[in-house]
Symmetry: C2
Subunit: 307 residues, 2 copies
Amino acid sequence: MAQVYDRVALIGLGLIASSMAHAMRRDGLAGQIVGYAKSAETRQTAREIGLCDHVAESAAEAADGADLIVLCVPVGAMGAVAAEIAPVLKPGATVSDVGSVKRTVIEAVGPYIPDGVHFIPAHPLAGTEHSGPRAGFAELFDNRYTIIVPVQGSDTDAVARLSALWQGMGALVEEMDPEHHDLVLAVTSHTPHLIAYTMVGVADDLRRVTDSEVIKYSAAGFRDFTRIAASDPVMWRDVFLNNKEATLEILGRFTEELFALQRAIRQGDGDHLHDYFTRTRAIRRGIIEAGQDTDAPDFGRGKARKE
Amino acid sequence: MAQVYDRVALIGLGLIASSMAHAMRRDGLAGQIVGYAKSAETRQTAREIGLCDHVAESAAEAADGADLIVLCVPVGAMGAVAAEIAPVLKPGATVSDVGSVKRTVIEAVGPYIPDGVHFIPAHPLAGTEHSGPRAGFAELFDNRYTIIVPVQGSDTDAVARLSALWQGMGALVEEMDPEHHDLVLAVTSHTPHLIAYTMVGVADDLRRVTDSEVIKYSAAGFRDFTRIAASDPVMWRDVFLNNKEATLEILGRFTEELFALQRAIRQGDGDHLHDYFTRTRAIRRGIIEAGQDTDAPDFGRGKARKE
């Protein structure tokens, strides 16, 4: 793969940015990678593991002279970072982001982007429950979707170039408008995360069932929820505060359905339960056929366990 | 490991029974394994893959002369099987089961057990989303808990022998009373499954987000729910019908917590969300330290993917 950008600046050095650094290096997609993180400890770690060619001491220093600047901070921090880097952005540069919400990020960042600079929001649908600069790995984006959300006036060539970078990092690229993105993610990501956090919180609260029992007997299903409920709290706080309408809408649908199943249990309506549980199997098959999950039993945990 | 029982009868040949057959053979725990399944197709499959030493044509034929009879059928079918095998049970034999609910199984099966036969309910907390006689594997129970639920008058030696079998199959064994078992499982298994089924059903229902989008973008969190929502519908229908009170109680707690988080989102209360999301991380760490899940990112799916 040929180089796509000369100098790339990653602002924020968590799981996504560190995976981007590894993936860009794997395929020689960037001439130089500059990074910055607000926390001195994170910057120090990034230097120790040689994550970037240079770790800057400010977002503006990292962005200065960069051809691509990717904001990899929690959604609620994007606006402030955009304000800080705006004065040093070079003409023709592209500013992108990896936020899980798009409408409010566009509202927060867009106004700071100077004329002559391209603003092309994006969102890689990939992640693990681990956080920080050591959590990244080059394969994170392989065969996963990255959604590019062009804004009014996004330059076609600049969009194509950003697409090429993501494809080079292994991703499948699609375009979407911000409202649709936020609704799709409310269904496939935000509501599932909130529900997982809730279930784990409930288990943690119960006095008659001790914490130790919840942990020991978690393999019966509960542990699946604890993985996504171990994701970064700041990132997720900002997601819910910034995708309020769509999340609340899907939560309303969820509660309706849950109440219907709850009533079926109370009334002993086995047919309702059986039909519902049969219908949901098809989606799992679809996900496996689409290459978006493994068919290995238990997500292949057995193999992970034996290694 | 020495032989624990001479002749073992497995009634029902799904994931659990077929894994038991493999695990007993791995360690020579049974002199002879006899199996029976209601479906002729399942019996045929079991014969083809040589799952048991003998596949019987009725539950009574399988149970006749067995030292241990394990009921591995959905919870709602246990009573009828017990009625059928009762006349052929030999004195000193043990009848056990692997049902996910214990109180109603004890009520349904107990009255059929003749004097001189031991009834010792049990529940291995292990499984995958796959079903049927081909789904079993010997390692399923390794380092997972099996809960033994002795009933009034359960013979100590007979309980110790059944424990030895489960330990021989790799399990960690604990004892519990039926009410506590049903509550613990409502928290760690039944409610999480119902919630996963609900979330998958909601996603399937949405018209503006197409099925294809739900599938393509599932790696953002949703796919984790689809695994347990792909479990056997008959088994799960019976679980909810037979653990009604405990499941409804935990669902009530879940709904309360969900409404509190929903209100925090509506009101923009970031501190509440952040605190809640921070608290839930500790449980995940506990589960990993207890050896009940892998610490590999994404359940080790990456490794499963590459193989």
